[in-house]
């Protein structure tokens, strides 16, 4: 089995960017920043919500000019299409040039689609309901540009787009794409606006991060960068704006919304990115910080950045937050803020933070850029973001066109699956392939009943299933838990809709009680990575992390990210969990998506414990080795031209959301894997979307372990097919047969 041409030395460079924001697009961004314009202003639409503030950075003109299409698409899709068009133009790439390239789309999104969902539900309009799920925004853009590369939707709230950019780099280095379009888009829904008010975190006027007047301003927009390898960019004489040299992520495992008060999570994430880039903290000239303006974030984040760059010494790098330009654009924040630096650097400047008359006590002693752009062409800069669920991301970039020689990467670690578990109508683990408990009753799984120490009050159904499945898997893995270093353990979560039952209660509150009665206790569970945060707290996960949403492929996408992080030894242990709950609204959404058996959906979760060679205990026998992850687009007959060779596969397990896609995939895979003894579908009595990939993988592992000597299954291909007919897969080797590195 050959995983085709991986090259860690391949340098990912940014050759173009595009944005739609409250202070303008590619044409007007720099001029707006130079003039010190903020996109945050009083919004008439929000004034009627009777909240403490009605300020936000909305794209009012864009919304007005694109109103005709807003019945068909959420604005997140429309913002993104415009931003990607600008990014491609900026990179000098035409759609014709993309036609024969593997163009990946890595799309960050936090809470888009809520407005169109509520409209759709009110009007019983399935076409609108269909536009709701986060992945739909990504899929719309993917299909608008007729892209033939992989599609990933990152939904870790405010770190979604920076996660997307980071993963895009990995795809280039792994030769899974020729060009990556990475960034994020978010449209600000009334429900989200009200939700932030319930947390008392919204500024009465324009936010002033680091200032004594605290509070954030919400925003919306889209930002995308075009990434390609330095080699490809140089070959076509593209203008290289920056080189993405390192990335990192971490989990605080501290609180659902508040950051760890000393910024330790931020520090770990940035340190990881610096190490990845092979650069010391003192070499960083500038950091674009998350800088929301809230009392909990700014001081803690600056502490974390200082610790990563300068240890206990004062920080010398300049720092600013771009939130006062764009507002907090949530799923698009990381991308927009990175673009603000790229745009300023094009003219030899650094972005400023607006409106800071007096610096807050815990933000003093830093080289803050205030009010006006700072004239400074930097060599190295970093960007940090943090999100609900305690997720932090960092990017380290080298500015300008000079392509530096990358550091020599560490040798790859082998990646194994140590254990698995699943909870649906029963509980199953790797240790016991039959149900370890009696079939669950109608009330479903209760974390409080099984693991009271892991249960917290008001814990959502999805979190309970996810934490429970992870706990069963960890127990089955036999891995030492007390001595485990939490910072070397990663958390990866996959969910199509998140905690839909909580979201439903929130919708009801909005409709019946009004925006000023949205409950803070519910709102925090409505972000799609809320369960990842709960998982991190329950299992002390402080290493790398990502959150994916799709319509069937998110489980294997989460595994893919874990595979990269374990292989690069960023962490040595990973929990990969996929799950969903069941509610009236989720059933309605799946019916609108026309997935099979939408009404049979029930809460479920599947979990894998993955380890690399460093994390593999000497006395532990892993279940299988993960050799590679890949994607195939079968829509409109498209296939990746440089597919991983599948000729040696012994067996294939495939899962799909619809029967006809399943049959199509079985047929295609039979052709691609001529040696396979069989191509079998996932056997499951209930609809599962997010976890179908992991369940197919578990079925593959079961079949591997029950192999007979007459017909050994040494190499198993696991594939899931989503609603867009895109396949994601991974190849498993039985450990005995896996080639040693």
């Amino acid at each position: 089995m050959q995983s085709n041409n991986h090259n860690d030395n391949a340098m990912a460079v940014i050759t173009g960017y595009g944005l739609e924001s409250a202070i303008g697009n590619n044409q007007t961004l720099f001029a707006s920043m130079a003039a010190g314009h903020s996109g945050v202003r009083a919004q008439a639409d929000f004034a009627q919500l009777q909240l403490e503030s009605h300020h936000a950075a909305l794209l009012n003109e864009f919304r007005t000019s694109h109103k005709a299409r807003s019945d068909q698409f959420d604005f997140a899709t429309l913002f993104a299409i415009s931003a990607v068009e600008q990014a491609l133009a900026d990179a000098g790439l035409s759609l014709e040039q993309l036609a024969d390239k593997r163009v990946a789309l890595c799309f960050g999104n936090a809470n888009s689609g809520t407005d169109i969902l509520l409209e759709g539900m009110a009007q019983q309009d399935n076409e609108k309901i269909k536009q709701y799920p986060a992945y739909r925004q990504a899929a719309n853009v993917h299909s608008h540009f007729n892209l033939n590369g992989p599609l990933f939707c990152f939904t870790s709230a405010c770190t979604a787009s920076s996660s997307a950019i980071s993963f895009g780099r990995e795809l280039l280095r792994d030769n899974k794409a020729d060009i990556v379009l990475a960034g994020g888009s978010d449209s600000l829904a009334r429900l989200v606006y009200a939700g932030f008010h319930s947390l008392r975190s919204v500024s009465a006027g324009v936010c002033s991060p680091y200032g004594v007047d605290t509070g954030l301003s919400l925003g919306e927009g889209a930002g995308f960068v075009v990434m390609e390898t330095a080699e490809a960019a140089q070959q076509r004489a593209a203008n290289i704006l920056a080189q993405l040299r390192g990335s990192g992520s971490s989990l605080d495992a501290y609180h659902a919304t508040a950051p760890e008060p000393e910024g330790r999570g931020v520090s770990r994430s940035l340190s990881m990115a610096l190490a990845d880039a092979g650069v010391s903290g003192t070499q960083i000239n500038y950091v674009n910080s998350h800088g929301t303006g809230t009392p909990a974030n700014d001081g803690a984040e600056l502490q974390g950045i200082r610790r990563a760059l300068n240890g206990e010494q004062p920080m010398t790098a300049k720092v600013s937050s771009s939130k006062s330009y764009f507002g907090h654009a949530l799923g698009a924040a990381g991308a927009l803020e990175l673009i603000s630096v790229l745009a300023a650097q094009r003219h030899g400047y650094l972005p400023a933070t607006l409106g800071v008359n007096d610096v807050r006590e815990d933000c003093q002693g830093y080289a803050l850029i205030r009010e006006r752009l700072a004239e400074h062409q930097v060599d190295w800069f970093a960007s940090t973001n943090s999100a609900f669920g305690g997720h932090n991301t960092s990017l380290v970039l080298a500015s300008g066109e000079v392509v530096l020689t990358p550091k020599k990467p560490a040798p790859h670690q082998r990646v194994f699956i140590a254990a698995h578990a699943r909870i649906d109508s029963q509980i199953r683990t790797a240790a016991d392939k039959t149900a370890i408990s009696a079939k669950l009753d109608e009330a479903g799984f209760s974390l409080k009943a099984h693991f009271p120490a892991l249960y917290r009050r008001r814990m959502s159904c999805l979190s309970q299933y996810a934490i429970g499945a992870a706990e069963f898997a960890l127990a089955a893995s036999g891995l030492e838990r007390e001595t485990n270093d939490p910072t070397r353990c990663g958390g990866y979560f996959a969910t199509a809709l998140g905690c839909s039952e909580v979201q439903e209660r929130n919708y009801d509150d909005l409709a019946k009680l009004g925006a000023n009665n949205i409950k803070s206790t519910l709102f925090t569970d409505t972000v799609l990575n809320a369960s990842l945060g709960s998982l991190a707290i329950a299992h002390s996960i402080r290493g790398t992390a990502a959150n994916f949403s799709d319509c069937g492929n998110e489980g294997l996408q989460a595994l893919w990210q874990a595979f990269y992080d374990l292989r690069a030894d960023r962490v040595e242990r990973a929990l990969v969990v996929a799950g969903e709950d069941s509610s009236n609204s989720s059933k309605q959404i799946w019916q609108a998506q026309a997935v099979d058996a939408a009404d049979t959906q029930q809460a479920n979760a599947a979990a894998l414990v993955m380890v690399n060679e460093s994390g593999l205990a000497t006395n532990t026998q892993p279940l299988a080795e993960v050799v590679t992850c890949f994607t195939i687009s079968t829509a409109q007959g498209k296939q990746l031209p440089e597919m991983v060779s599948l000729e040696e596969v012994d067996h294939v397990v495939v899962a799909a959301t619809r029967q006809h896609e399943l049959q199509h995939a079985q047929h295609l895979l039979s052709e691609l894997c001529p040696q396979a003894q069989s191509v079998t579908p996932l056997v499951d009595n209930h609809l599962c979307i997010a976890s179908q990939g992991l369940k197919a993988l578990i079925q593959g592992l079961d079949e591997m372990s029950s192999q007979t000597s007459e017909a050994p299954l040494c190499r198993v291909l696991v594939v899931s097919v989503n609603a867009e007919q895109i396949m994601h897969g991974c190849v498993l080797h039985s450990v005995a047969s896996a080639p040693r590195s």
């Binding site: 008439a44 004034a47 009627q48 909240l51 008392r200 609180h255 409950k519 803070s520 206790t521």
Partner: protein
């Protein structure tokens, strides 16, 4: 308010909102740190608890709460302190005020009622079997007259110009003797006691024919209760009545609801419009669309609200309201759909909901029969009416709301044929473009053809259409008699009626 009571209420809120079990709460000491043992709440729980307390007591606890410990006892202390400040701010307000300078507290009104009930010769003279027409007068005097009649077992009729006045009732009552306490307070118990009593409302009606409708006090009080359940009105410090309680909408919103909420009310007399003495407090402005412009006299405070009913609020006012929202933080508005016959049907948020989409009040049910006719079931209907057949076109939305599509296309009978009024209107619009016009078919038993078609056009032009062209356009229809008016007259409820149009037309002629 006693500290213990507030502590008990906070515990109830914690149980329900934070999903804390009673057994866990039993272990909680009032001085214990809520973020620590035994509950280990987190900051999000605290935010929700504070929000619940603010809502329950209609007060603001931020940012003062930052200075206190996170324990039930301190939270109760803060609530009591904030309640005290709100009460101080409201102290300068009397319960019943009017723009002519008159003002009364509840006890004062009760004393006046009891004097009239005990000593009024005029009241004693009135028959108990006949309805009593009440004169148009100052709103407070009007309601004192109404309640004197109700408490003495008589049936008042409102809406006419002439009739019994408060001044007449008071004559001869100032005799220095103590009055009998017929009434002890203006509150819910009084409304329940008078539940079966009826009030007559004389309406002009959109067709110009006056109608007299009787509503039971029980029905109207139920409606006030239902409104308070559907809309959170508890946060407003003052009700500013820009309409009179002589119409049913005003009776409920400017008399019964202030009593239900125990809030002061300020009646704007049409002759003495004055700024409302609300200071910095938020107020609930009750109006009909025709008096919308009176709001310009008000110094609208942040968080205030507008309630409109009686006629469609309209797109122009909708836009003006949205503009006003930009200058008045947290200004909100609600349009109530309903009539004297139907009572309140539903409501919508102005400048937010679709102009025709209404949420039904919780006790109101609406269904469409096989012909698509809307049938209303409501406890707010006229006495002895289990249901009401609406003459409006209604669409039922899947979320339970309704879309009001206007009055049904009326059909009139002319020369034995059924003809569409809407069709006639469209033909006429060819001659007048977008100018507002109203069309009526006035039935006449003495006319063999059935009656005549009257058209009124709001236009500055005095040029009538060419008669031949008009005849051509109305070949199979009666040719309307057209009156050109510079502006349509509005009645007190902001409506244009046939009678007022005829009046203006005759005066012009």
């Amino acid at each position: 308010m006693r500290h213990q009571q507030v502590v008990a209420q906070i515990r109830v809120l914690m149980q329900h909102s934070l999903e804390i079990e009673v057994s866990e709460l039993a272990e909680l000491d009032n001085q214990a740190d809520l973020l620590g043992a035994p509950l280990f709440l987190d900051s999000i729980d605290m935010l929700q608890l504070i929000a619940d307390c603010e809502r329950h007591y209609c007060i603001k606890l931020y940012p003062q709460r930052h200075t206190l410990r996170n324990c039930v006892a301190d939270l109760a202390t803060l609530i009591i302190s904030q309640l005290g400040q709100t009460q101080v701010a409201q102290q300068h307000l009397h319960r019943f005020m009017a723009s002519d300078g008159s003002h009364y507290d509840e006890a004062g009104l009760v004393e006046l009622l009891n004097r009239v009930l005990s000593f009024s010769p005029e009241l004693a003279r009135l028959s108990k079997t006949e309805e009593v027409q009440v004169a148009q007068q100052n709103a407070i005097a009007l309601m004192l007259t109404v309640f004197s009649l109700l408490l003495s077992g008589r049936t008042p009729v409102l809406g006419g110009n002439d009739g019994l006045s408060w001044q007449q009732l008071c004559a001869g009552t100032d005799n220095g003797e103590p009055a009998t306490p017929h009434c002890t307070g203006l509150d819910a118990s009084l409304m329940h006691r008078l539940g079966n009593a009826r009030v007559g409302f004389l309406t002009s009606g959109s067709t110009g024919k006056p109608n007299l409708f009787f509503k039971s006090l029980h029905s109207m009080w139920s409606e006030a209760e239902g409104i308070c359940q559907s809309l959170d009105l508890s946060g407003y410090a003052l009700i500013n009545a820009l309409i009179s309680p002589q119409h049913m909408y005003g009776f409920i919103w400017t008399w019964l609801i202030p009593i239900r909420l125990n809030k002061p009310v300020f009646y704007q007399d049409a002759q003495y419009i004055d700024a409302t003495p609300c200071g910095e407090l938020s107020m609930l402005n009750i109006l009909v669309p025709s008096v919308w412009d009176l709001l310009a006299h008000e110094n609208l405070t942040p968080g205030s609200a507008v309630i409109s009913s009686g006629a469609p609020f309209g797109a122009r006012r909708e836009a003006e309201f949205a503009t006003l929202q930009k200058t008045v933080p947290q200004l909100s508005g609600v349009e109530v759909l309903g009539s004297t016959e139907t009572g309140g049907i539903g409501f919508r948020t102005i400048a937010q909901d679709c102009i025709a989409t209404f949420t039904l009040f919780s006790e109101v049910r609406l269904r469409l029969d096989d012909q698509g006719t809307a049938i209303l079931h409501s406890p707010y209907l006229l006495s002895d009416h289990p249901e009401f057949v609406m003459m409006d076109r209604i669409a039922l939305l899947s979320d339970g709301r309704i879309r009001h599509l206007g009055r049904k296309d009326k059909v009139f009978k002319y020369k034995g044929k059924r003809l569409s009024l809407e069709e006639a209107k469209q033909r006429l619009q060819v001659f007048f473009g977008t100018a507002p016009l109203k069309l009526f078919f006035v039935e006449d038993d003495n006319d063999k053809r059935g009656g005549q078609l009257l058209a009124f056009v709001e236009t500055q032009s005095q040029q009538h259409p060419c008669e031949q062209a008009l005849r051509d356009a109305f070949r199979d229809y009666p040719v309307p008699n057209i009156a050109l008016l510079p502006s349509f007259p509005l009645n007190q409820m902001g409506k244009t009626t046939l009678s007022s149009l005829l009046e203006v037309t005759h005066a012009k002629q």
